[in-house]
């Protein structure tokens, strides 16, 4: 199924690579992909975790990649993003509101402590409580009692919706029915923790003890800004069993340096090819050592509704005109060498329920004539205030946004004949602060990396009224209602249908203009094999072996 979906968007050659690698352990079971040297320690590129390694306090990729190997949640996701049970024996519900979770017997942490119902319940309560100020606290917002525990200054440290039934069973009550809630349980915020962790998180975060396929290679395995060494956790049994003798994350300040190490075989796996080498990496490494693999992420331009020019009926027409004036095909092929694929909706193609042909998706097709017509139509309703020309805000410190923003700007100038400029900000925090405070003077580059493989994750947190990442300040009660209906649906299919109905509204209103989907571009050394990238663009480290 995944093959048919992805093949649409990939070059023939890249499909061949995917098909090959899909043979080598794609279903994530421990028996397949066994060919290769399992005694090799794999050296992979990493970035310094920005916080102590505590599941509920990690919100960035550097720490996330390490946590995902150290811990196993109730479920995990296979390469295609399909959920598979890890610690959970079963997750059952009748009304999508109350869930009974049974754990497998005899599971332990790497220090021998048992993984029981309290390991989860206590960790989740810890994560939600305001007094612990955990960065990922909002992941627990669906659980009953979250509001009391997370309110500013609150001293409540338990959520009423969590109940331990016996050693291996607990019950979760949500505020309202949410059918895709179990899908989230593979995200790092939901990992179990040992009691010592909650008593002294800072010390624990330096030398975390988990229940996943890997563990720290002794105390101090995390040499800050240098490397993090992981070795297989012998007590782990499950779908992500280590096929190598360990993973060493070598911490790089930038991708370009890491690439030099890769081509000289000092680094085994590089998960992001630097922009400067995107055009030549397939030549440098060869088809059998490089990969292009679509993952659950996208790039958009959000236009706030508090901008006069872009609100109301005229604003809607202008948004559509803008969207049709962007030649996504050309930019993805010229700027990214097909390292992105043109967007056809607001989510991402690797997700279950993705539909490239939703009504309204023609608004994302390049059509300069129609764009000019729509713009003229908008002019008749209310004239465009030329003293406030459109800007596209982006941060210049991380990620390489300048090139594509300039390409979009030029396209809009040529195809619509309006004045548009890119607006670089020196730091991420600067542009982020303006977006959060709602004082942007133009549009902002935006985008989403999935936390868990679900359509809702791309819609709810970004476009629901008052949502945390709603930079456009989009407010549409009908859209909100469809999201709630989708969440309350009892089957995943029915839920996805509602989500896509909600998407049709977004495609009409365009609170943000979808540009393209992300594609992971990675490579590996001549010393390793069985490298595959998962649904979230991260290599499946446990499956990599030596040659």
């Amino acid at each position: 199924m995944r093959f048919t979906r992805t093949s649409k968007m990939l070059s023939v050659a890249a499909v061949a690579v995917l098909a090959l690698s899909a043979c080598g352990g794609g279903d994530g079971s421990s028996e397949s992909g066994a060919e290769g040297d399992t005694n090799r320690v794999i050296i992979a590129d990493g970035s310094e975790p920005q916080n102590p390694l505590i599941p509920t306090n990690t919100n960035e990729v550097g720490g996330g990649a390490v946590l995902d190997l150290l811990f196993a949640g109730l479920i995990s996701y296979d390469a295609d993003g399909k959920p598979q049970n890890e610690m959970a024996e079963s997750i059952e519900t009748e009304d999508a509101k109350t869930y009974t979770i049974k754990l497998k017997e005899g599971k332990t942490f790497s220090n021998g402590a048992p993984v029981n119902a309290a390991s989860f319940v206590d960790a989740w309560n810890f994560g939600a409580a305001a007094k612990n100020a955990q960065l990922s606290s909002y992941f627990f917002e669906s659980i009953e009692g979250y509001d009391e525990a997370s309110a500013e200054g609150s001293e409540v440290d338990t959520m009423s919706g969590l109940k331990v039934i016996d050693d291996t069973t607990f019950e979760v009550t949500l505020k309202q029915p949410e059918s895709d809630w179990p899908l989230r349980l593979g995200y790092s915020a939901f990992y179990p923790m040992i009691p010592e962790a909650l008593a002294d998180p800072k010390t624990y975060g330096e030398n975390p003890v988990g229940n996943g396929p890997y563990k720290f290679d002794g105390e101090g395995a995390w040499e800050h800004n240098q490397e993090i060494s992981l070795v297989p956790n012998e007590s782990y049994e499950g779908p992500q069993k280590a096929q190598n003798a360990g993973i060493t994350f070598k911490i790089y300040q930038n991708d370009t340096t890491a690439y030099q190490d890769l081509i000289s075989n000092n680094l085994d796996v590089l998960k992001t090819i630097p922009t400067s080498d995107v055009k030549n990496f397939k030549n440098d490494l060869g088809e059998d050592r490089s990969i292009e693999s679509p993952y659950a992420g996208n790039q958009t331009i959000a236009i706030p509704y508090y901008l006069e020019n872009w609100s109301g009926e005229a604003g809607k027409l202008r948004r559509q005109a803008l969207s049709m004036a962007i030649d996504r095909e050309e930019i993805t092929s010229v700027i990214f060498s097909n390292g992105r694929t043109p967007a056809e909706d607001f989510t991402a193609p690797v997700l279950d329920g993705y539909d490239a042909d939703l009504p309204g998706s023609e608004n994302l097709e390049f059509n300069p004539e129609k764009a000019k017509e729509l713009w003229a139509e908008a002019e008749e309703i209310s004239p465009y205030d030329e003293s406030k020309p459109l800007t596209i805000a982006y941060n210049a410190d991380k990620g390489d946004h300048k090139t594509w923003v300039e390409a979009v700007v030029n396209g809009l100038k040529n195809n619509l004949g309006i004045e548009v400029t890119g607006k670089p900000y020196a730091t991420f925090k600067e542009v982020r602060t303006e977006a959060t405070d709602g004082v942007l003077t133009g549009s902002i580059r935006s985008g989403w990396q999935a936390d868990y493989p679900s359509l809702y994750n791309f819609l709810g947190p970004i476009y629901a009224t008052g949502a945390s990442s709603n930079d456009a300040r989009y407010e549409n009660p009908e859209f909100d209602a469809l999201l709630s209906e989708g969440l309350a649906a009892t089957t995943v299919e029915e839920g996805n249908e509602k989500m896509n109905e909600a998407q049709e509204m977004l495609l009409e209103d365009l609170p943000a203009i979808p540009l393209w989907y992300q594609v992971a571009q990675g490579g590996w050394s001549t010393n390793v094999t069985n490298v595959e990238f998962g649904w979230n663009g991260v290599p499946l480290y446990y499956a990599i072996t030596g040659k």
């Binding site: 975790p49 920005q50 916080n51 102590p52 919100n59 960035e60 305001a130 007094k131 100020a133 955990q134 960065l135 990922s136 606290s137 909002y138 997370s150 309110a151 500013e152 200054g153 609150s154 800072k202 975060g205 040499e223 800050h224 800004n225 240098q226 490397e227 911490i251 790089y252 300040q253 930038n254 370009t256 340096t257 890491a258 030099q260 190490d261 081509i263 000289s264 000092n266 410190d397 991380k398 900000y425 020196a426 730091t427 991420f428 925090k429 600067e430 542009v431 982020r432 602060t433 959060t436 990396q449 936390d451 947190p461 945390s468 990442s469």
Partner: protein, 308 residues
């Protein structure tokens, strides 16, 4: 002499206060909310933001933040960065590496710069002199990141004489290539300074006198010409040590050295004022001490200079 040194040390106190105040103010004035950097792309809840602000004194006015920082410094507690790590630990981690790199670069540029400059100066207008002048001009005009990437590619990737990047141990052999890249531009300056200075002194009266006295040529060159030519070079090298330590950011980035430059860069981006101020203050102190050392060196190089 001792009195002079003591006075110079006392001067460090106002320098320290002024520098920290100014730096703290600069980082404080950078636009954007520091919690936005901590919360990342997806943001965090208002409650979490509020407690982060309280934890790092971000909810206090500027002067209060600065006084709290000063109080910490006086009680030997520099505080933590946003990842909760002790700033003192970070400094202890990154300074030795960068110091090693900077000293290696300094030795490289001093030894090669002075030797080449001396020979070029003594053979003014000859083929060696012209070649050295052209080469040093090229080195000065090519940006350091071009030189860095070029040398990394040639010696690290193609010839594989050394690793393209520096590991956590930052051993002598690993740091050799980055140190040469770092010292290359200054090497060219040292060379040119020495050359000019040697040419000037070679025609001085006391050199003619020394030669007339019947001193051997090596003695005239080393003691009379070279030693007196070292004053501008020593001034340059003293100032350069500080520049090498704080300015190694490009080289550190290319060779993935976990040093001061990179740490400082990240701290500025995140708006971590205590980290920036602490690191830069240490750099300022090093700079001041290096300059004091140079000033004392003058007296040894040129007996006419006296300190009272």
């Amino acid at each position: 002499m001792a009195g002079y040194v003591l006075r110079r040390f006392l001067q460090l106190i106002p320098v320290f206060l002024g520098a920290t105040l100014l730096l703290y103010f600069l980082v404080f004035s950078l636009p954007g909310d520091a919690t936005a950097a901590i919360c990342g792309e997806k943001g965090c809840t208002p409650a979490v933001e509020a407690s982060l602000r309280a934890q790092y004194n971000l909810d206090q006015p500027f002067w209060m933040q600065y006084l709290l920082y000063l109080k910490g410094v006086l009680t030997f507690d520099l505080g933590t960065n946003f990842a909760g790590r002790e700033i003192a630990t970070i400094i202890a981690e990154v300074f030795p590496t960068t110091a090693k790199l900077a000293v290696m670069a300094l030795v490289f540029e001093a030894v090669f710069g002075i030797v080449f400059g001396l020979f070029a100066g003594l053979r003014k207008g000859k083929i060696f002199d012209s070649t050295v002048l052209v080469v040093s001009l090229v080195v000065i005009s090519v940006p350091i990141f071009v030189l860095g990437f070029l040398m990394q590619f040639v010696f690290g990737v193609k010839l594989a004489w050394t690793n393209p990047t520096v590991s956590g141990d930052a051993s002598f052999t690993e740091l050799l290539l980055p140190a040469i890249v770092l010292g290359l531009v200054s090497f060219a300056y040292v060379l040119r300074l020495t050359r000019t200075s040697v040419i000037e002194n070679a025609n001085a009266d006391y050199v003619r006198t020394a030669t007339a006295k019947g001193l051997s040529r090596p003695r005239v060159v080393t003691v009379h010409i070279l030693r007196n030519s070292m004053i501008p070079v020593a001034t340059f090298l003293g100032a350069d040590l500080g520049a090498l330590m704080g300015g190694a950011i490009v080289t550190e980035g290319i060779f993935n050295v976990n040093g001061v430059g990179n740490t400082l860069y990240r701290a500025v981006l995140n708006g971590e004022a205590p980290v920036v101020v602490s690191i830069v203050t240490v750099l300022i102190l090093i700079f001041c001490l290096a300059n004091l050392l140079v000033d004392l060196l003058y007296a040894w190089l040129d007996p006419r200079i006296r300190y009272a």
